[in-house]
Each structure stands twice: as structure tokens, then as C-alpha cells.
Amino acid sequence: MADERVDVESTGQNVAGQAPVEEPEAVTDDVTVHDDEVELERTIGLVGGLAIGIGTMIGAGIFVFPGLAADNAGLAATLSFVIGGLIALLVALPTSELATAMPRSGGGYYFISRSMGTAYGAVVGLGLWLGLMFASAFYLVGLGHYASAVFVELGVELPFSPVTGIGLLFGVGLTALSIGGTENTAKIQNVVVGILLVVLTGFLSYGVLDAVGVFGGGSVPEEFFSRGYFPVLTTAALVFTSYLGFAQVATVAGEIKRPGRNLPLAMVGSVVIVTVFYVVTIFVATSAFGADRLGQFGETAMVEVARDFLGLPGAVAILGAGLLATFSSANASILSASRAVYALSRDALLPRKASEVNLRYGTPHVALLAAGGPILVLVGTGRVELLAEVASFLHLIMYGLMCVALIVLRRRNPEWYSPSYRVPGYPVVPAVGALASFGLIVFMQRASIAIGVVVMAASYLWYRYYAGSVTLKGDI
């Protein structure tokens, strides 16, 4: 994958008179080259890419949703997670192809703006930024639940529910940390993900053995579709937030080494890995308690499952893992949101000021504040399910459009489009991926859909007002 570039002449300027930054000359395995002499180094390897994907996703599906999902769909919640995983996979494959053809920062936003034009790009890009904020807020509320559970475990009685307060506190902390911290956060993220996978593998292996009766417990047989068939789909829509991480890998596509190989492996790999973990988790959790009791435990149901299996040490281990996982997911989402702001600002869809780099810390403080600030407001609502669904809604729009973008590009087949990875089963896979993404939205709560539509409309209006004359579409 040497020296290919997107044939884009981005033109026009925004209200402030800023034009999009010109496209790079060439993209290689190690760098993105501008003006012949300026290079942007690619430094994230396969492990780093997988850690971003898994680290973003695993916080939600395992540590927040099992109780809620079981409450909604009964044992069949397992099927909801399978459906979510399948849709994610159907999108991850086309995304991989697009990413290897255009390994640039901004991920889905970049692919769509270059193949379908600025209007779609703006809606998706602004939607991605806001969607990631909803996702971060969701993770922070989840973190709040786990931190509260720690207080309960310690026997500290608080006169109020600390969930929102703790979420806000960590929101502020994370934003401050990403602005002022220059430590090697990627290495920490890799270690955190590694620890999580080890803890979970141990815990789940025990759980599976127990569920099939090895330790004499065995599970109570229960009707699979105890809540009927429809809740399986609404639950799939709800828990889809657990699968938003793979596209975050594409957001940093410009920094991935050997993108032709590592991007597909990291995206598809992380989807497959978390799907397996999710399905096993929900199986173990429901077989331990049955869906009804599990549902009563709410966000921190996994702690009770662990206590049931392994007593207090198990509960403590899962509490710790839950804190780590939700924290890493929130952190990864804030960083991705800041990358989305950068990509938009680079293309003059947001003020150039928004991606300014802080002279003292070298970090994009405006973009990070633009991500961290609104998150606090969202955390303040404390509504886990709504936050999760709006995040999913905005991402699903992007996922669907990415599949459409792939079909558009394959049909027109412009000269610059030479992905090193090609999706198998074209055109069925991207077509089904698009239909499934848009289709899942239908099963969401009305309120979530309404908020999502408002965000999209606002994004479009912003584009018309601010950057109506900016053209980003490639030569197709």
C-alpha cells in the first residue's frame, strides 16, 4: 500500500474564511507525507489498535448492560448481544476496506465526506463528535454506579445517590488529565485492557463451568424468550452501545502503522473478541441468577454474579475491573471525540481554533474541552439508557452511511480508490450492513430517536450556515 492518495481537491471556505487543509501527497506504511518534506509518523501497532477497540467497547457490554438487558429481554438477551455483534461485524468489514483505502484521521467522517460529499460528511462528523460525548457520558454514569457500589461494599451509607456526582467528578478529572497529562497513555491503556481480559477470562471460565454443572450448582432451566420476541430487538438496539469501539480505531487511522494490514485486523478482531466475551458473560450471568433476579441488580449486576460464584473476593475483583473498564472506555471516547473535532476543524467545518494545540502541554485543549464540557451536562442527566441509545443512534447513522459509501465507491471505482483489503461478499455484506444499521434504529425508544434526529438536523443547519461552500468530495 505504497504512495496512494485520495484524489481530492477540497475547495471553498467557511464563514470565518478558513479553507480546508490540503490533502497529503502520499500515504505509506510508516508515514503520511505532506509537501514532500513533512511527515506524520504512524506509531500505533496492531496491539495498540486492538486495545483502542476493545478498551472502548468492553466497559459497557460486560459491566453495565447485563442486568439491564436481562431485565428487558430475559434469557434471550444473549441473542440481543449476538445480533449486535453481527451488525458490528457487518459494518466493521466495509469500514476496514474504506480505512485501508483512506487511512486518515477522522475515520467514518473522512470516508463519508470524501465519497458522498460535505453535507453527509458534516452530519456524520458532527454526529460522531456528539455521539462520542453521549457515549463518554454513558460510560461515566456507569463508572459512577461502580464507584457507588464500592461505597456500599465498604458499608459507607450516603444520604444521597453518589452516582451522578462521581460521574461528574471523573468527567472533570479525565478532561483535565487529557489536557495536562503527557504520560504514555497508550501504554497504560494496553495494560488496562490486558488486565481486564485476564480477569474476565478467569471469571467467565469459572462461570461457564459452574453453569454447566461442574461445581454442582447448575442453572435453573428457564424459558428463553420469556419476554417475547420483540424485546430481543429493542434490547439489541439498547446494548449496541457496547459495539461502538471498533470505529474509534478508524478515527486514529492516520496514526496506525501498516494500515493495510493492521486496520482490518484491529477492527474485525476487536469486534469478534468483545462479542465472544459479551455472549459468554450474559450466558453466565443469566444462568447464575435467572433473568428476573439479574434484572433487579441493575447496572452493577455483574458484581452480584461474581459474589455468587466466588464470594467477596470475586465481587471485589469485578468491582475493580468494572471501574477500570468504564474508566478506560470513557477516556478512549473523549480522546476519539477530540480527534473528531480535529478532523472537522481541519476541513473547515469547525473553526480552526478548535483544534489548536496547547503550547505548554502540546495537547489539543480546545478540542478536549469541547468534548469534556458537554459530557458533564449529559452525565448530569444520569440516564444510562437514553445516553446509550443516542450514542448508538448517531453511530448507527454513520455505520449505515459508511456501508453506502463503500457501495458508491465500488460502483464508481475512481482511480485513487485502491484499498488493500477488500470486503468479502460484496455487495451483500455492505448492503445488509447498511440495512441492519438503519433498521436497528427503529427499535429504539422514541426519545432517543427524537434527540438523534435533532442532533442531525442541527448538524446539517450548522454546515449550511458555517461551511456551505466547502467541498470535500473526492473525484468520483
Binding site: 487543509v21 503520511t32 509518523e41 506509531t43 489536557i179 497508550a186 480522546l335 494545540v357
Partner: protein, 244 residues
């Protein structure tokens, strides 16, 4: 005439690092690969830093490059925004096939060069760097070797004589070359002690990457204590077999 050896000069261009006095004259006969790099935290996309800092960095790099050109070197400039300075340096060495990397410290006009010879491996590249950089100057070259216990005087003699001949072929007249051999001493200490009276040290890398040299391997004690410029000759990336 010898070919101009490619020498990498890495500069953290936006952090106030500049070309110290005497360095451009030192590399007057070399092909300088001038790498201006800027290390950014992971929260920042490299492209983001580029949008803001490219102009300033390019201006500085341009000016530094002119210094080398005025001194007589040929110059190739690269500006890289990176999360990982080490990877950037290693990659640039490989891509531009650099024979050596300069740890830039100030120096007076070079009269005495210390060449630390470790063994037969890579000795040809060492010779090409010494001859390429100092062949056309009047600097005197001292080949310095700390012998291992199992090495006989004969072995050492063969090694150093071979190098002297090779340098002579490449245009460094034998009379300008001295040899010094020591035994029973710690190699690093010996080199740093011996280097005190010299203007420049040329040595092989102790590790496959220069960056480890810059960022804290045993050899950088040499640079730290020596305070003058050090040319670190790179291993041949392509082959692991000893060269002839």
C-alpha cells in the same frame, strides 16, 4: 575522493535545540540528513500539530540546513511530527541509509579524532564514516581499542592494521593515523577518559538503534561526559553478516 557518507542529524526542532557551534564545519564533507522532529503527546493527532507548527518548524529547519550548506555539505531536510521520536529516528536512518548519526554537541575546529574500534563487525562502515568526514581535513585520527582478555596482541594488531590500510585506501594517509590499545579496563570508562583530549568521538552503536543511544544506553554516558560531538556509526540494517 570518497563518497559523501550520509550522516543523520536529529534535532528537536521546536524545543529550542539548534545546531551547536562547529557542528556544521564538522560535517562539511558529508551528506547531511537533517531530521527536524517534534514529539507530541498521544492526545494530539500529528496532523493537528502540523497545522499549527509546520511553518515555524520549516523556517528553522531551512535555516539550520543553510548552515550546513554554507559549510559545504549537501543537505536533505525532513520534518516529522511523531508520537515516538525513537521510531522516527530509526525509520529515517533506514530510509536514508545513514551510515552514522551525530549527537550534536559544540566543538572547536577538529584537530584530533578518537575512533573507538570494538571489533571486526562493522569496521568497514566505521572506515567509510571516518574517511568520508575527515579524509579531506588535516585532523589526526586515533584508533582506540580496548582489548578483551582472550584477544592476543596479534589479533589486535591485525584488526587495527587492517583498518589503517583501509583508511589509507580511502584517503586518510597512514601517517595521520595513530593506534592505541588498552587492556584490563572498563571499556566505557576507558573511552570517556581517553576522549578528554579529543575533539570528536566516532564509535559504533552498542545496540541496534541509535535512539537507545540518545535516550539512555550505556554509550550515551560517553556523549554526556565527553560533551563534544559523537558520531555513532550504525549497523548495517540489511545484513547481519560481518562485512569485508
Amino acid at each position: 575522493m570518497t563518497d559523501r557518507p550520509s550522516i543523520l542529524v536529529p534535532i528537536r526542532v521546536l524545543e529550542g535545540e539548534s545546531i551547536p557551534e562547529g557542528v556544521s564545519e564538522l560535517l562539511a564533507n558529508a551528506h547531511v540528513v537533517l531530521l527536524g522532529y517534534h514529539v507530541i503527546p498521544e492526545q494530539t493527532a500529528p496532523g493537528q500539530a502540523r497545522m499549527q507548527f509546520e511553518e515555524r518548524a520549516t523556517d528553522r529547519l531551512e535555516a539550520y540546513g543553510s548552515l550546513f550548506e554554507q559549510a559545504g555539505a549537501t543537505v536533505e531536510r525532513r520534518l516529522v511530527f511523531t508520537h515516538d521520536g525513537q521510531k522516527t529516528i530509526d525509520r529515517t536512518i533506514a530510509e536514508h541509509d545513514c551510515l552514522a548519526v551525530l549527537v550534536p554537541n559544540a566543538t572547536r575546529p577538529v584537530e584530533d579524532v578518537l575512533v573507538a574500534v570494538r571489533g571486526t563487525v562493522g569496521v568497514d562502515r566505521l572506515a567509510r564514516v571516518v574517511a568520508g568526514v575527515f579524509g579531506e581535513t588535516n585532523a589526526s585520527v586515533t584508533l582506540y581499542h580496548v582489548a578483551e582478555d582472550e584477544e592476543t596482541d596479534e589479533d589486535v594488531g591485525t584488526l587495527l592494521d587492517g583498518l589503517v590500510d583501509r583508511l589509507d585506501d580511502l584517503g586518510v594517509d597512514a601517517p595521520r593515523i595513530e593506534t592505541r590499545v588498552e587492556r584490563d579496563t572498563d571499556t566505557l570508562d576507558a573511552i570517556t577518559d581517553a576522549s578528554e583530549v579529543f575533539d570528536v568521538v566516532v564509535m559504533g552503536e552498542t545496540d541496534p538503534s541509535l535512539a537507545t543511544f540518545v535516550f539512555g544506553m550505556p554509550a550515551d554516558q560517553v556523549a554526556d561526559r565527553f560533551l563534544g560531538p559523537v558520531l555513532v556509526v550504525q549497523r548495517d540494517a540489511a545484513s547481519t553478516t560481518p562485512e569485508e
